[in-house]
Symmetry: C3
Subunit: 168 residues, 3 copies
């Protein structure tokens, strides 16, 4: 069992790093759990680009909200790559779900899983304080989620310019 | 004597880390020096949350501007936790004080203190350049302040997702 | 030959670090390659401040766009400091040049140079997602550029509060 959290800024190489880690567990085909939905052309292009880079051989699931159930049902198979938690959090907030409870449930579920899980997240709190109250509460929530998941992860890496720094 | 600077983004675990460090000097009750004033409900909630987490046993001071005098008068007692320098800088700017002189005075005073000082600050310069000229000059000032204080500190840590990276 | 990339946020001490590294190759006078043009008073002040700190003894070039040619013609002389790549990227975008091709050409040229090159860049992707589509695509481009150049560099440092973290 291994729970690995990959964090960093936009276009810092998080997904590529996470894909390489998922492929490093070669016994069974890796499983890609996308939290993104192709709701606009920018997102469609991003999803297509990620799919091209990953290449073939992945089992794919699109899971905007219910991460814990899909991690449970896919357990015992290949390594799971969850890309990404920040978008999952955003989806929870839009759906008016109780994000603190769901993050806590995810943190509780991770150590009990048998197959590896690699989770991608974003650092969004290192810029100037946003004017917008909604943006401020989102960056607070994202920071809290990252702390909670990092606390339970076996390994945490912070990506800068495509290079990993080991945090844990 | 120890001067420790804890930096990082919003909700990266800076205050919790700083509190743990302050409590690690157990001879005398730690002293909490808050630079925040409860001017709105968002700030009130934040202050109340920090107070709940810290728990009892702290001597508390609310010091929006005059940090150097309170560090001098409280010296010889318990470890001091200053939370946070970024808000202090913002208070200095609003009060139209000469922040460069005050930061330089703080940097000069820190090495002469006998009791430990743990200072919390924020990284605010890792986002896109703000449109707003005031925000640009604030992030410049914060970056300069962080460099000046880090230069005089005995130890500097950068927090990401609740995990410290040792910078110095 | 040495290619060194210095990255970090605004006012994190990137330029001062890069200048110290450029001066550490003392055989010949270091060469300063500025990608900034003094188009407004804020930029003029910044350029003047950097020049004052650098002091005398530098050969100076102002190169908003054509980095690869100037690195070729100045090769064999002193160490080159390119300050900074983020502004170069911004200049390329404003000039409607093919930035991906130019970044790739730079990455291809760097390993063939005989004299050292120290490149300064910025991390701009660690704040909240910008509302503005142009800002989003700029931060994407900057992140991709940083990954490409970091991949070819011999050494990469991430500056926080004036202190370098070795990434590579």
């Amino acid at each position: 069992m291994a729970v690995i959290l990959i964090t960093g800024g936009a276009r810092s190489g998080k997904s590529a790093r996470a894909e390489a880690l998922a492929r490093s567990f070669p016994d069974q085909p890796p499983i890609y759990i996308a939290t993104a939905e192709a709701l606009d052309t920018e997102m469609e292009a991003r999803i297509a680009r990620h799919r091209t880079r990953r290449g073939t051989g992945w089992v794919e699931h699109e899971v905007p909200l219910d991460l814990v159930p899909v991690l449970a049902t896919s357990d015992g198979g290949g390594a799971r790559l969850v890309d990404c938690l920040t978008l999952w959090l955003s989806n929870l907030l839009h759906a008016e779900r109780d994000w603190e409870r769901e993050v806590s449930e995810l943190a509780g579920a991770l150590p009990r899983l048998k197959s590896p899980v690699i989770l991608v997240t974003n650092e969004v709190g290192l810029g100037i304080v946003p004017d917008n109250a909604l943006a401020r509460s989102f960056r607070d929530a994202a920071g809290i989620m990252n702390q909670v998941i990092a606390d339970t992860a076996d390994s945490v890496e912070f990506m800068v310019a495509g290079l990993p720094m080991k945090l844990k």
